[in-house]
Subunit: 179 residues, 2 copies
Amino acid sequence: MVDKHGETIASAVTNLDLHDIARAAKTYGVRGYYVITPIEEQLALVRQILDHWIIGKGAVYNPKRRQALELVRVNTSFEAMRAEITAEEGCPPRTVATSARRHSGSLSYRRLREMLNHQAPVILAFGTAWGLSDDFMADADDILDPLAGAGTYNHLSVRTAVAIILDRLLGDENEVQRI
Amino acid sequence: MVDKHGETIASAVTNLDLHDIARAAKTYGVRGYYVITPIEEQLALVRQILDHWIIGKGAVYNPKRRQALELVRVNTSFEAMRAEITAEEGCPPRTVATSARRHSGSLSYRRLREMLNHQAPVILAFGTAWGLSDDFMADADDILDPLAGAGTYNHLSVRTAVAIILDRLLGDENEVQRI
């Protein structure tokens, strides 16, 4: 990830990102939601939250939350995650990076929707803070078109951007077909 | 709003709902984001958050956040908000309620998208906690189709549901047209 000034950083994992993104992933039938952070304290925090909701008191209080959080996996690096998915799926995943800025040759939602119907696995990568690093973007197989709203303002939280993009890619086609 | 057991309650306003929903509203060109609560302490909390980001230190730290939060207005009742909008717009707004459950005769996203192009003003109402009360739903002019994901799991946070619905109704048509 990068910070406000473009420096590469490891951003903090927030409790609410974890819940909101897991719930959206579960709603749209995503196979797994990986949280990547090199910081051991952050990994421990995520594991503690997951334990509470999957095997602790939270699982009894709100079983729907457990079903969502069961999708979460943690890892210390993107490459380790990629190796894990490759081993499980028997083929390397395609990496599609997301960005709030437009990149030349970026992939349309329609095209990625088609790809998801015919090819798998695909990693859809989101960065918190000020986004994914330039190196990561350069290494990705594709970059997805940015979300377009009504004007030039384009500052969604990562939680809401993930949810909107999953809806565009995996939401019920008939229900939401645009005019 | 109603709680887990269907009793009518006033739910808590959360800081993150305020930020995320304001940012989505600004991104999709929504005219105003009204936070309705009858609880004076909640209203005071919202005003304190808004002051920080609009005229306080937050406005300097992050001007984009100010632009979003400037859309927020608070009120103690839905009827008072409705009267305010009626006075400003010169005609009463149409109220479209949202729900995670399907209601008979509910409005499609396509139809509401058309309505928004031709009629105004429209209030799009969301409930936190376990949703809007039955009385509110019965009084609404329309109920919007629920969001459909990939299966039967349908437990998005209100923040993410608002963002997805705004994208379906107000997102760039060409960019996101489904197959």
